[in-house]
Each structure stands twice: as structure tokens, then as C-alpha cells.
Symmetry: C2
Subunit: 771 residues, 2 copies
């Protein structure tokens, strides 16, 4: 737990420099634009502790799998988004002294992440050689308006001395991954070039052969010398190029370095066209100029905030935190490219390989559905649609047949990357989450075309998996699902995980409904799908049989759903009785002790009650919540939000707020001591859900937006922005009141605590909640 | 399945050379003496497929653990016996042609492993340069009489041409392991030296700092030149030395190379005394001369066979196989050093790291108990006694307290090496096997002193583990054991594995009995132990409670013990219905499919019925046997022997024989296509058990040897030798008769099929079994 970030409604601010916090700040102040991103490493040399990180979305490497003991079915490689060419580097020599904050006296230091306008700002004043004062101001951003462009403005001022300055503007492609299974390097050189428009470096990933071309144009501006006239020298080594500028500078003169970069990958260009396109893109950006690029960046962020901002009145730290979460989510994924997805650490670190998990479907889709145009969430679904063939192959590798699909636990391109049998082969509920996301998307958007065009094929393949994954227990005369790991990963290889069993049956039912819908509304397309997938009626009958005869573990006396068979054989402790010294369990206990204990990592039964809340009575939900929450250690950042939403549903406002707090500032306050590895991007969506689905109680019911709001007593009011079927609403919850501002040109019908309301176009409705 | 080994009662014979079989033969023809061993690699250069292997017992390296996903409690290293200095190499150049069987025409080739006399013999005739014929005869052995000495006699004869011959007698210490997690080399150089007595190379393992000194003395004898006169040149490189001899040889002249080696390790000498001792040992052996060393070798093996031979009449392949198994077991472990144990591959390959598994206690101890002096089995027990402190530390790492011990799954020096949570943390029945071995040893030997001196401390520590590993299930009002892996490793992380639960309670009961015995017979020692271990009466009371209230899963209707909770929820297939194309399952099925299936890898419930047969009614055993055997795929080489013994007990002689056949020639016929990796040493003990405990029905009952024999109808008779409390018996089972020859000087009382008999000293008793 740290507390060094200054509170501010729109900015993340660090004042003063503590080298011990640098890696945390590098994560927190990360910038990105969905296509590329970087940790907040310094432009100038820094020899202190640092995790250098520059990432390009979709550029990955199949690192050789490392396991102790091979199991049949393990994937041969672990695909990971890799650290790639670093274009931000600017070495500064002042009278041959290499500027390095680890090696000089720092008088002032300030780092700001401006979330409103989308840029990173840094300024510092230092002493070199006892009393030579130097001031630096730097601004950097990855353009969200022009997502192959990044820009830096870096100003140096010698305050009280004259000096010769050498400026080395670098492109470094000789990058290694901290996360490399066998310490391999993943990049090889292709070519480099200097033209009148800049310097260019093209490199290539081994094995996958992704090529990346980075071009940089550097301008030096001082009061005296104009950019065009300044001579530079071109340096190149293997996978590294630079331009060197030398000049003599008088005290008080500002030297401004404008470095504009274009970053293009072979994901979007023919490899032989990369360099020429990179140069053209760069030239265009240079012609626009830093000021214009910067202005466009601010505009683009303004548009994003209009759709997505949450204002919290009366709690500036909460305000800062929720905007931080929203900001980072949009820096990670912009939804313009269905080949991309959301890595758990985004572009802020290497952990979890930048790959796709079920986090996307369970946590991120609700966020993007409400805060971005419909295409954004749709592209996340199409990502999985495009991986369907590989999901079928993945299931085949495990022995499934007939077009059954098992989506991977962790993936870049649709193939499985994970290699723990208890997860890879057994945490199969992920397959259900992918079906649930389709349901959720259509419920929110009414985009039934999606079902016809894409969704139904995915649903059938997933249902085929479940139909083969169950088996008939003669003993129970029921279908059972053996050998699974539920969302609670503190249990492995259990039988009849209630959540998984319920989800499997739900998938079968929903697929049947979806088939019925498509057969009625698009009989031709339906026929096409049926033929393509060779679907036969026997399957339908079998699904019905499973739907009607699934076994669900329950505890009769306690009237709860049982997390899995045998759960009640465990020693029944409560989290409140766990000494603080033993937590977090995943650091303090051996794995077998965790497995044998009754303690739960994250919502499991409760995840099911959250997904399918309308299937259950409120008392049912309460009993399960009360039982399981007392046993839940929330050692996944994805856990508290589900509990917050359920607590809100159960009218337990205090606890809803308490759970919300657990993740709201998870990274800003370095709650788990791991922010230095990168940010918890996907759990940030959960924080958003706590406010919108929890505090505001937002749902879609009867095809309308539904709210059941409350205001945490720590706040004066909160306002959030929601897109719903092409309209944007601003919804404010204050003490006793709810205001719905309809920013669209149509009347909107909503439900608030079971009463129907209409809000006219461009109008605001204020509801007195106390009535 | 291969069929190229010629049948012979005392020899393993390969005639003709097939390079594709070479790695298999290298395993099969391995030689060793308990302290060192080697695969049957060629002395001369061989550029074809080969797995070079020389091993020194107890010299291991802690290879860095390789896992995909770290779990708390995993050991940081995997200790493995490593490939070490190769002293057998003799390069032969004939007119500058390097002799290499991969590069010349082979006219004749024969390899023989003489098991009666303990040596490896090889002869071949080749053509080089179209029609120059060369004949080679080689004999090699690792002296079992003088276990730091090995010797080679290598004779070359040019049949039809004169030539210059260069002989390079090598010591190669620049060895790498095939099984290295990160491709590291494990050895570094220390020094080398040539003296008038030979050449010497000393090397050292990284990290562990074991030092190994190998000395070699080479003599060249021809009709004309005596050894002393021949000049040699000394060559040395890093970790490699050699002596080169050059001579001109006429057609028909025999050139005999005698190479004697001494191999000493820092396990037994101060490092600074290694070389001097190595030289002294070598000098002594050279002075004895090859012929004398060879004679002693034959004598020593003759003594071993006297105690352990099994003769089978009427089935030469069976005869060959059982002697092969006995021979390899004695080559691997001689019982003179309690720091050593039995690696599953002995000195014949790198797989399973040459480390100790529960195989030792469950399978090997019964073999050595009956076929070798009592000290041999005792040293295997003391090995574990000496590891007690580490077993307690191992348990502490997993959260156990108060002197509870969990012995490692895989170990060299008492620390755990294995790194799969479902095995390392959960296959805890191994702890019970270690207690069972103490019980078994005392039952066989009546060496109660062992219990006082060593055994009781181990038993108490193991019982403390069980007492903490159970937990009380409020639900069942019984003690349960959750999250274990039984002997059937095709189930992981199950609850209430019947075998484990039964074994745990047995351990508690036996420990209580042992405590009672020691307290009565050695009250002082008892007091000493109680104080040392701080044992208190509360523990005793708790153990009683567990003993009285353990939960044992059962199936009431089928009247069987249930392998684990939920076993009957599985789809109930039988092995006979498994298509051949799907077997072995561990190669054909994904891991999750194996786990979900009802198929059993090796005896699990049945292992318990074998260990504790007297606790159960015969019908009980039959019902369980019939149920489980039909579901068992025997994909562990340790499985069939238990089934063979139980089938014999159930009077199912045909099946007892059928199970015996499955492992008897496992390696000789390369049944599992994996003999090239090394031999299945520990399962060889199981084959012995099938004959002695199975066919002869040997037990110890009421403190006497007990037999209930039958003769497989494929055999005319079989005779085995048994040591029992200082006496040696030769027992012959023929059609309808049993002959007991008492080779000792005391009368022996035995039981045969429930009748008591006396056999006078040095006398033979013939019993008519048909009566």
C-alpha cells in the first residue's frame, strides 16, 4: 500500500522523485492508444531501477512452453505480446555529462498523467557539477486520433551556465523481454535507413515473422537555430539507430526537441511496403506539427470522455481513481480492430503475456458496451468468432469431436497458450463466458443481426462442447461435469462445480433459443448454418435431455448451492478468523493447503448468481452471498466488483461501497505491491461495473435501461455517462435524487426502481428517489 | 515390442548389429556394481545413435527447477544423478582409419551380458578398405568385489593385413546430461595428471561441489612387445585426458589392450586426498592384474546368486528374464552404503533422475530382504532415517508443525525434487509406505533393535503428519483426507482416497503399537525419544480419535471400497471395451480425459488390500479385485505384480501368470518402446515378488515363513533361494511337489498351506502338495 500519488480530479500527479517508486510510476503513468503503448520510462538515460516497456498490439511471439512435466494436450508455445522497439530515447550530454536522474542532484521533479487530454508530462530541475542547474520539461503522448503516431516535446534549459549539448535521438530495437522462458531474444534486424524525412528501423520477430517499422523525425529548436539548418549525424548498429545533434547553448536559452514517431507493423501493411508507408505517415505527422497533433489528441480524448466520464462529487480520490480506470481501459482497447483484445496488463507490463482471458467477456464487455460505440464491443465478439476454427481444433486436441469448440484460457491468435492442466483443460467455464457475452451484447444492443451472422455458429460449437463434456452418472441418475476448475481457482479438478454446471445448461438453453430465433427470422441463414455445421436433430434431443437432467450440488439444510461436490467436507473457517499474518494466502500458504481449505479466491457460485440473477429469488441470493462471502479472500482483483454489485442488489449499501473501495485504487495505491509489474487493466472494468451496475443498479430489463440507484454516503453525488442504442445519457445520482439527461434526439424510456419514465430528447428528468 | 534378444538361461545375447536397436541394447547390457555403472556403450568411437551414460552413485546435481507456473512450496531445484566421467573410451586408428562401427562393413557382431559371472562381452569382425578384416574381442566389468574398480580387456586382430595402429585410451570428463532443464553443463575441471601408474582426471560438479577422480592404467600386449616397454604420449584438454600408443602390427598378431580404471568420489574421500587414493587403488588393482580381478568378479557374483537365484525349468525365456531382473537389481544396489538408494533406472539412463521414489519401500525392500543379507534392507531404511530432519523441514514448508514429517516424492539427499503440486504436495501415501517398510522389515527380520534405534522416531514423525493432514468433516461426523493423489496417478487431487485413508490410520495404529513395544522393552530409550520429540499424551488421544473415526468411502451395493469420493459418478467403462488404438491412454488421451475416466493406472485400492491382506476376508478381496482390475490399464510397470500376487491369493493361477508375464520381459522385449531410455529397475523387484509372493505364496505368518505355492502350467518347476534370519533356503516347486532345502545349520520351521513343517539343518524336505 502506497500513498504518494497526489489527489486530483483529472490528473495523476507525482511530486518529488523516489527511485524506489519509479517502477510503480512507470506503470501508473503509462500511455497508449489501443494500437501501441508504453510504460512511463524516461526519454533521457536512466541507470536506476526501471522496467523498460514498449508494446505494439497484436505483435506477439510464440515463446517455447516451459513445464516441469509434460501432459498430453499442452500447447507447444506460449504466445505473448512482446517488448518491442523503443522510440522515446533521447540521450542528453551537457559538456559530455550524460544526463541521468540516477546520477545527479534532483531539486524538483514532477510527473503528471493528464487523463482529460491524454498525455504524460514531466518536469524536473537538477544540479550537475555541484551548481549547474538544468531544467527539463517533457510532454509525450501516443496519438489516439492517429494511432500510428507518437510525439514528444522535450525542452532543456541551462539555468546558470553555458555548455555544449549533444542530443542523441534514438530508435532502439535491440529489446529483450523480462518474461522470456529460456532467455531468448525475440527480434532480429531487417534494415535501417536515414532519409531527409527521418530515420527508420525495421525489425522482425523470430518465428512469427511480424515486422515492425519505426520512423522518427527529430527537430531541435532554440532561440537562435532553426530546425532545418541543424546538422545531424546518423549512427547505426545492429537493431539500433540514432541521430546526433551538437550545439552550444547559453544560459537561459531553451532548447526544444520535438520527436515525432510513426510505428507501423506488418499486421496492417505488406512487409515490403512498411518502410515507405512509415515514412509517408511520419512525413504527414511532421507536416501537421506537434501543436496540431497535440490539439487533436485533446479533442479525441474529449470525445471519449463525453461518452464515458464518471464524476464523483465530494471525494476527489474516488474521482481520480474512476477516471484513471476508464482512461487506462481506453488507452488499452479502442475497438477499431477485431484482431486485438485486452491484455490483463494492457501496454503497461509483460505479465500475463498481453494475452486474452475470459476477463474480456465477463468484465470488459459490459464496460465497452456502455461507454463506447457499439462496434467496440462487437469487435471483441468478432475476435472470438474469428477464432472459432482454432477453438474447435483446441477441443479436438483434447479428444472432442463433431465441431465442439473449447476456447483457450489464454490466447493471442486463437490457439491455447496456457500450460497448467488444471486450468488449460479444466477451467472450461470460460467457454460459457464467451456465450454469455453474446447474450449480453444482444440484450444491450438488440443487434440480432450479430447472432445470425456470427453468434449462432459460436453458440452451437460451444454447446456441442458441453454436450460432450458432461457424462451420465448411473449413480445419481443425473448428468454430471467432472474434473473442472471454477472461477475460484483455489480449487482445482473438482466435480460438479455448481457455476460450471449451471452455465453449461444455460449455454444449451440459450443456444436453442438462438437457433429458434434465427430459424424464424432468417430461415435461409439458419439453413446455411445447419448445413455448414452438419447439425442434426439428435443433438437437439440430447441437449434437451441434459437441460432436464443436470445435477446441481446443493446443501439442503443451509439452502445454498454448493460450490462443488464435497465442499462441506472442508474445515469450515471464516475469513474474519484468518490472522492477518497469513494473508494473502497465495503468498503465505502452500498450494495444497489453499486447495484443502474452504477459502475462495473470487466469486464462484456468486458469479453465477450475478450472471443469472433473474433466475433466483432475492433470499436465495442473500443466503448464498452471506455464506460464501464470509469464506472469500478476494485474492483476485476480479472478485470485489461482483460482490459489490450483489451487495448493492441486496440493499447492503455499506458493503457495496466497501467492496468497491477494494479495487477502485488498486493500482494507484499499489494495494497488492505489484503495480510495478503493470496495471490491472481488466479489473478496472470491474470498478466501473461496481458504480454503474452496483451503486446505480443499472440493468437492461424488458428491453429498457433499468436503474435502482443509491448514493454512497461518502459521496455528495455521482454522474455517469452511458451510451444505449445510439443515445447518450448522463445520469446523476445525488442525495435523494436521480437526474437523467437525455443527450440524444429521441425520447428514451427507462425504468427506475420499477417505475417507468420517459425522458424527452435533449431533456433532463429529475426523479425524487425518496418518494 | 522387440524380439531380438536370444534366449539363454544365463546370458543376454544379441547377434548381428542393428543400429536402430543400439540404444535399447546399451540399456539392456548395462553393467554396474552399486557404486558406479554404465550403459553398454562401445569402447571404440561410435558415430551412430547412442546414449552415452556413466554414473556414480550419490553424485548429483541440483538442476534448477523448470515449471510453467510456480506454486508456493515447490522446491527450487531438481536433484539428479548426473552423467559423469567416461573412462571406457579407446579410439583405435588402423592406418589412420578411425574404427567406428557406423562406418565399416560388419561381418559378425555379438554382444553378451554374462549374468552368472557379471561381465559384458562383445566381439565383432569387420571389413575396412574393402577387404581388410579386423576382429575385436572385448570384455568389460565393474568390479562388485572392489567397487571402485572397473576393467576392460580389448583385443584387436588384423586378420589379413599389416598396419600401423594408434590406440588412444581416454578419460573424458567433458560430459553433458541429456536431461538438463536449461542445457547447462554440470561439471567443471579440477586437475589432471600423468604418473608412472596411470593418467588421472579430477572434475567437480557445479553447486554441489562433488569431486570425482578417475584414474586409468592402460597396458598394450602383443606377441612381441611387452607392456612396460611401450612408449605412450599424454594428451590433455579441458576435462579430457588420454594416452596414445602407436605400433606396427602384422597380420594375425593379437593386440590386447588392458585398461583398468579406478573411480573415486568425494563422497568417500577428502577432496585433497582423492587423487592420491585414486592412484593407490589403481596401482593395487593393476598389480592384481586383469585375470585376478576377473576371477574375483566371478566369485562375488557366485555368492550373490547363491542367496538369490531363481531357476525356472521348462521356459528358458522366463529363466533368462528373472535372472536379468535379479542381476540388474544387484548391479544397482548392493546395500553397503546407507547414503545410496535405488533409482528407477539404476545406472542405465538419466530418466527419473536416478532419484529415490516410494518404489524402494513398496517394491524393492521385499526383494532385498529375502535375497541379500539383512544389512542391505536395513541400509535402505536408515537412508530414510537419516533424511528425517529434512522430511520435517519439507512438511514445515507446506505448513505442518510440531515435528510432522512428509518424506519427499523424489529425492537424492532428503530434500524434495519433484515439482507438480498434485504429486509433490498430494501423493502423500508415500509417507505411509515408508512406515510400512519399517513394519515389513521387522516382521521379516525380528530386528526390534531397529525400531528402538531408528524406526520409532520416523513413525512418530509420520503419524504426526497424518494427524495434521486429516480434518474433521462436520457434515459426515468423520475424519476425512482431502486433496490427495493415490497410487493411481490417473486421478489427481481427490478426496478420501480409500488407500490413503486406510494407510493413514494404519500408520497411527502401528506407531502406537511400536511406542508400546519400545516403552515396555527399552523404557530408557523410549523416554529419550519422547523427550527428544516432545511427544505429549494429547497427541496420543488425538490419534485414537482419528483411528476410531476415519471415513472410508465404500459402495454399499457393490460391497467394495471406493477408490475415492465420487468415483462412481464416472462413466463406467471396462478396459476390455477400450479400442487398442486408444492405448496406452497416457500417449493417446489428453490428461483431462484420463482424469475424468474411470481407468486406473496401477493398483490403488488393491495396493491396500495387498499391504493389509490379513485385515480383509477373501471374498472382500475378490469383489474389489474383480471390480477394479477390469478398470485398470496397468500403465505403470509397478501395477501387474500386485495384481499377480492378489490373483494367486485368489487361486486364479492363470491370471497370476498372465500378470507376471506383463513385466517379466518388460525391458528384454522392449514392451513399452522405452527401453532405450534405460531399464525399469524398481519394477524388476515386482517381477521377483510375483514369483515368490505370488506363485510360491510366500509370507511371514506367526513369525514363520509361510507358503501357499502353485506351479504355472507353462513351467516344469521353479526353484528360488531365500534368506530368512541368517539361513538360506532353496525352495523348489514342481508338479505337485514342494522341496525345501535348508542350507543352514539350524532346523527351520515353516508353514505350507496351513500345515506346520520342520526342516532339519542341511536337509531337504519334500512335500506332496496334491495331498
Amino acid at each position: 500500500m502506497k500513498n504518494y500519488i497526489q489527489a486530483d480530479p483529472w490528473c495523476i500527479i507525482e511530486e518529488g522523485f523516489d527511485p524506489k517508486l519509479n517502477k510503480i510510476s512507470e506503470s501508473l503513468f503509462s500511455i497508449g492508444n489501443g494500437k501501441m503503448g508504453q510504460r512511463a520510462n524516461f526519454e533521457e538515460t536512466y541507470s536506476g531501477e526501471s522496467l523498460q516497456g514498449s508494446y505494439v498490439a497484436g505483435v506477439y511471439f510464440p515463446d517455447k512452453t516451459r513445464v516441469g512435466w509434460w501432459k498430453n494436450g499442452y500447447p507447444p508455445t506460449f504466445d505473448k505480446v512482446i517488448n518491442s522497439t523503443n522510440w522515446i530515447g533521447i540521450d542528453i550530454y551537457i559538456n559530455n555529462f550524460l544526463l541521468d536522474l540516477a546520477k545527479c542532484q534532483i531539486i524538483e521533479f514532477k510527473r503528471i498523467l493528464n487523463m482529460k487530454e491524454g498525455f504524460l508530462q514531466r518536469s524536473f530541475m537538477i544540479n550537475i557539477n555541484t551548481d549547474q542547474k538544468v531544467e527539463v520539461h517533457a510532454i509525450r503522448f501516443c496519438s489516439i486520433d492517429n494511432d500510428e503516431i507518437g510525439a514528444i516535446s522535450y525542452t532543456i534549459k541551462l539555468l546558470n551556465f553555458d555548455a555544449s549539448i549533444k542530443i542523441v535521438s534514438k530508435i532502439d530495437g535491440d529489446i529483450s523481454n523480462q518474461d522470456s522462458n529460456y532467455d531468448f531474444k525475440f527480434w532480429e534486424p531487417v534494415k535501417d535507413k536515414k532519409t531527409e524525412n527521418g530515420i527508420f528501423l525495421q525489425t522482425k520477430t523470430l518465428k512469427t515473422g511480424f515486422e515492425l517499422c519505426v520512423g522518427v523525425h527529430t527537430t531541435i529548436l532554440t532561440d537562435k537555430i532553426s530546425a532545418e539548418k541543424m546538422h545531424s549525424e546518423f549512427k547505426h548498429e545492429i537493431k539500433f539507430i540514432a541521430e546526433e545533434f551538437s550545439l552550444n547553448v547559453c544560459a537561459g536559452t531553451e532548447v526544444k526537441i520535438i520527436k515525432i514517431a510513426s510505428v507501423l507493423s506488418s499486421l496492417n501493411y505488406q512487409v515490403d511496403q512498411l518502410l515507405v508507408n512509415c515514412e509517408a505517415k511520419l512525413m504527414a505527422a511532421v507536416n501537421e506539427g506537434f501543436a496540431k497533433l497535440f490539439k487533436n489528441q485533446k479533442k479525441a480524448w474529449s470525445r471519449k470522455w463525453e461518452h464515458s466520464d464518471i464524476q464523483i462529487e465530494g471525494d476527489v480520490k474516488a474521482q481520480q481513481a474512476i477516471r484513471f480506470n476508464i482512461f487506462q481501459l481506453f488507452q488499452t482497447y479502442t475497438g477499431t480492430d477485431s484482431r486485438l483484445n485486452i491484455g490483463p496488463k494492457g501496454f503497461t507490463g509483460e505479465k500475463y503475456a498481453g494475452a486474452t482471458y475470459w476477463d474480456t467477456e465477463a468484465y470488459c464487455i459490459p464496460f465497452y458496451l456502455s461507454t463506447a460505440p457499439q462496434e467496440v464491443a462487437k469487435n471483441l465478439l468478432i475476435y472470438r468468432y474469428n477464432h472459432l476454427t482454432k477453438a474447435i481444433e483446441n477441443a479436438e486436441m483434447l479428444g472432442f469431436i463433431n465441431g465442439a469448440a473449447l476456447y483457450p484460457m489464454v490466447t493471442m491468435d486463437g490457439t491455447e497458450s496456457h500450460n497448467e492442466w488444471e486450468i488449460t483443460f479444466e477451467e472450461i467455464h470460460r467457454n460459457g463466458a464467451i456465450a454469455y457475452a453474446i447474450f449480453n451484447y444482444i440484450k444491450y444492443t438488440q443487434d440480432w443481426k450479430y447472432l445470425e451472422q456470427y453468434g449462432l455458429e459460436v453458440l452451437i460449437a460451444i454447446s456441442r462442447f458441453w454436450a460432450q463434456r458432461v457424462n451420465w452418472s448411473q449413480e445419481r441418475e443425473k448428468y454430471v461435469i467432472l474434473g473442472v476448475t471454477g472461477p475460484n481457482e483455489y480449487e482445482n479438478n473438482v466435480n460438479n462445480n455448481w457455476y460450471t454446471n449451471y452455465l453449461a445448461v444455460w449455454c444449451l438453453k440459450y443456444t436453442q433459443e438462438a437457433m429458434f430465433y434465427v430459424s424464424k427470422n432468417s430461415p435461409n441463414r439458419y439453413q446455411e448454418i445447419i448445413e455448414k455445421l452438419e447439425f442434426n436433430q439428435g443433438e437437439s434431443a440430447q441437449w434437451k435431455d441434459i437441460i432436464g437432467n443436470m445435477y446441481y450440488p446443493q446443501h439442503k439444510k443451509l439452502e445454498i448451492y454448493l460450490q462443488q461436490d464435497g465442499y462441506m467436507d472442508k474445515e469450515q473457517w471464516l475469513v474474519k478468523d484468518l490472522p492477518a499474518s497469513e494473508r494473502p494466502l497465495n503468498q503465505k500458504w502452500s498450494w495444497d493447503r489453499i486447495l484443502r481449505s474452504c477459502f475462495i479466491k473470487q466469486a464462484d457460485v456468486l458469479q453465477g448468481l450475478y450472471f443469472f440473477e433473474d433466475d433466483f429469488q432475492i433470499d436465495d441470493i442473500r443466503r448464498n452471498f452471506d455464506f460464501y462471502e464470509m469464506r472469500t479472500v478476494h485474492e483476485s482483483s476480479l472478485s470485489p466488483c461482483i460482490h459489490s454489485i450483489l451487495a448493492a442488489k441486496l440493499n447492503d449499501e455499506a458493503r457495496a461501497y466497501e467492496f468497491y473501495l477494494r479495487t477502485a485504487r488498486l493500482d494507484l495505491d499499489d494495494y497488492n505491491n505489484d503495480t510495478e509489474d503493470g496495471l490491472h487493466i481488466t479489473s478496472m472494468a470491474g470498478t466501473w461495473m461496481s458504480i454503474v451496475q452496483g451503486f446505480a443498479g443499472m440493468r437492461v430489463k424488458n428491453d429498457k435501461l433499468y436503474f435502482k440507484p443509491f448514493l454512497p454516503e461518502q459521496w455528495n453525488a455521482f454522474t455517469f455517462h452511458i451510451g444505449f442504442r445510439g443515445n447518450i445519457l448522463s445520469i446523476k445520482i445525488s442525495k435523494g435524487f436521480m437526474e437523467i439527461q437525455n443527450k440524444s434526439n429521441h425520447t428514451i424510456n427507462i425504468i427506475v426502481v420499477d417505475l417507468d419514465y420517459s425522458v424527452a430528447a435533449n431533456n433532463t428528468l429529475k426523479i425524487d428517489l425518496k418518494v
